[in-house]
């Protein structure tokens, strides 16, 4: 346990207070809350954040961890400044997903599942994103980039500041 307890920022708590009113049971807001925390608090869910959420939802921390770890969109380890997900499912595979992945790794200097040495990028494989008719595709910080070629992917990622 750290000496000083981590507290969720006030603005976020206000948001969650509104969110829980959408449901007959408070806990239903947990996954949306995990999303908001990940978005606002550094792109990943640290143990401190999970504990703070557990307290907010009056759940055991292990319960919150169990939920967060079930869902691929939640990062439980630090990520790079930018997160790149390359879809490797069937429609993208058929149109060159592995080449896009290799390009993404080359341009960002990392390997799938790893943070680059300079801390700027995390590259991951992701399952079908629902962009199959615009394959191959990647997701950069939540935004879809579709109909890629290795060149256009290199240009896109090379241009990220």
């Amino acid at each position: 346990m750290s000496a000083e307890r981590f507290l969720l920022p006030d603005g976020l708590v206000k948001e969650l207070d509104e969110l829980v009113t959408h449901y007959p049971e408070r806990r239903a807001a947990l996954i949306p809350a995990l999303h908001r925390c990940q978005e606002e608090l550094g792109g990943w869910l640290s143990p401190d954040v999970l504990e703070a959420l557990a307290e907010y939802f009056r759940l055991e921390p292990v319960e919150v961890f169990g939920v967060a770890s079930f869902y691929p969109m939640f990062h439980l380890r630090p990520v790079g400044q930018h997160v790149v997900g390359v879809c490797h499912n069937i429609a993208c595979e058929l149109r060159g997903a592995e080449e896009i992945l290799a390009t993404a790794c080359r341009v960002t200097g990392t390997r799938p599942g790893k943070v680059s040495a300079d801390g700027r990028f995390t590259v991951t494989r992701v399952e079908c994103q629902g962009a199959c008719t615009a394959a191959p595709m990647l997701v950069l910080d939540g935004a879809f980039h579709e109909n890629l070629t290795p060149d256009s992917a290199a240009k896109l990622l090379g241009g990220v500041r």
Binding site: Y71, L94, R111, P112, E127, G130, C132, T133
Partner: protein, 443 residues
């Protein structure tokens, strides 16, 4: 046969308009007239359900169950006054499928109107739209459209000045395919892991928070305003007798113009491939195709003249699923394709049932080793027996079936290609078929 099918576009009739996602454009193009008809035209909820039943509308989420019948399973509120819910399935994660997204991004009010009519019919006062977390634009467009509709008196209390009240809330998922299964969705919406529930009990009696609940797909609900506004006879004039209406067909993979197209059910797969998608790309020949998303079995090119309706596709040895066609040209390796599909189910199995947890992992490993050239002839029988141990109906949910069905299909239709991999000790299509595989680090 298919040439005789009546063609008319309604689901996508607005998506090409500028600002099609906004209320003024929706209203200027007939929007919310079906809701008005229901609320001010003296319809009872039972009459609305009857209209939907009469139309023959079947769910567009994959299983093709009668929508009106499903709605009628909701208990009579006079006898069962518990709160009740509609959960809109916008999880769209079946590989190959990207049609609900088109509706949510470009015609969100169409979905909202469908939700409102469904809620009126089932006397539901609260609907949740469970949208996959990756669909940021879908989520934001729907959220904004709900806000617009609320301001205009279309969502909330006293809708259109009547006693009908209905709230619609957006809810983001977080990347787990299994949350598209209706009971996995409900668990997830309650803030838990998306572990499907054993059935019975069924959602109409015991759904969200143990209350009566109906789960419907986005496209299913988007059909509803048209069914109400134009009537069941009009709806039945499109499609086939047992699969009426239009459907959004996705076509991806090795074609010139991949896309989402609206066509009557019963259209021939060849028409979609040639007329809509411009044929197989690069002037190549078709080798194999998947008719309805990754969980429906691969078919050989020879079956391309089959009609895309529930019965015809079943007769051809596959399933309509989400009508997400994935096309493989003559250079594609079907074993590699199955390796990718099996990897997906291995990754997405929730792990509750041993047949599925272990079966999906084994299928993945075996397809991978055959593709690498390290398979044995016995592996082919092993694939069949593993798939036979997983399905049908041997597990809590149908994800195990989704992995078993394409496995049986490849053994049936492409056995020679599996055997050739084993005999040659490599992929006969050569390394040029796919780039080196970079494994995901687990550190």
């Amino acid at each position: 046969m298919s040439a005789a099918l009546k063609r008319e576009v309604y689901l996508l009739s607005r998506v090409g308009l500028a600002d099609s996602h906004t209320l003024p454009v929706y209203r200027a193009n007939g929007g919310y007239q079906a809701l008005e008809k229901v609320l001010t035209g003296g319809y009872t909820p039972a009459q609305v359900i009857q209209l939907v039943k009469d139309s023959g509308l079947r769910g567009r989420g994959g299983a093709g169950f009668s929508t009106g019948l499903k709605w009628s399973f909701m208990p009579d509120p006079a006898k069962d006054p518990r709160p009740r819910y509609l959960a809109v399935n916008a999880d769209e994660s079946e590989p190959g499928t990207c049609k609900d997204r088109v509706l949510m991004e470009r015609d969100p009010h169409g979905l909202i109107e469908g939700i409102l009519i469904a809620c009126f019919a089932m006397r539901v006062k609260t609907a949740y739209v469970y949208v996959r977390g990756e669909y940021r634009l879908s989520h934001d467009r729907l959220r904004d459209a709900i806000a617009e509709a609320r301001k205009a008196g279309l969502v909330g209390d006293k809708i259109l000045g009547t006693d009908f009240a209905c709230e619609i809330w957006m809810h983001k998922g977080a990347g787990a395919y299994i949350c598209g299964e209706e009971t996995g969705l409900m668990e997830s919406l309650e803030g838990k892991r998306g572990h499907p529930r054993p059935k019975p009990p069924f959602p109409a009696g015991f759904g969200l928070w143990g209350q009566p609940t109906t789960v419907n797909n986005v496209e299913t609900l988007a059909n509803v305003p048209f069914v109400i506004a134009r009537g069941p006879d009009w709806f039945k004039s499109l499609g086939t007798a047992k699969s009426p209406g239009n459907v959004l067909i996705g076509i991806s993979g090795h074609v010139e113009r991949p896309g989402v197209y609206e066509l009557p059910l019963g259209i021939s797969a060849r028409t979609v491939l040639e007329e809509c998608a411009g044929g197989v790309w690069k002037g190549r020949q078709l080798k194999a195709w998947i008719p309805g998303g990754s969980s429906t079995g691969l078919l050989p090119a020879a079956k391309i003249d089959v009609a895309l309706d529930h019965d015809s596709i079943r007769e051809a040895g596959s399933m309509l699923g989400t009508v997400a066609m994935i096309m493989l040209d003559e250079t594609a390796c079907t074993v590699r394709a199955m390796q990718v599909i099996a990897r997906f189910y291995d990754h997405e199995s929730c792990g509750q049932c041993s047949q599925c947890r272990e079966g999906t992992e084994w299928l993945h490993q075996i397809f991978a080793r055959i593709e690498r050239g390290q398979g044995r002839m016995e592996d082919i029988e092993l694939l069949s027996s593993l798939a036979g141990g997983m399905a049908p109906a041997k597990t809590i949910c149908a994800l195990a079936d989704a992995a078993a069905i394409p496995t049986h299909a490849i053994v049936k239709h492409f056995r020679a290609e599996l055997e050739e991999h084993v005999r040659l000790g490599r992929c006969p299509l050569g390394a040029s078929n796919h780039a080196p595989v970079l494994e995901e680090a687990h550190a």
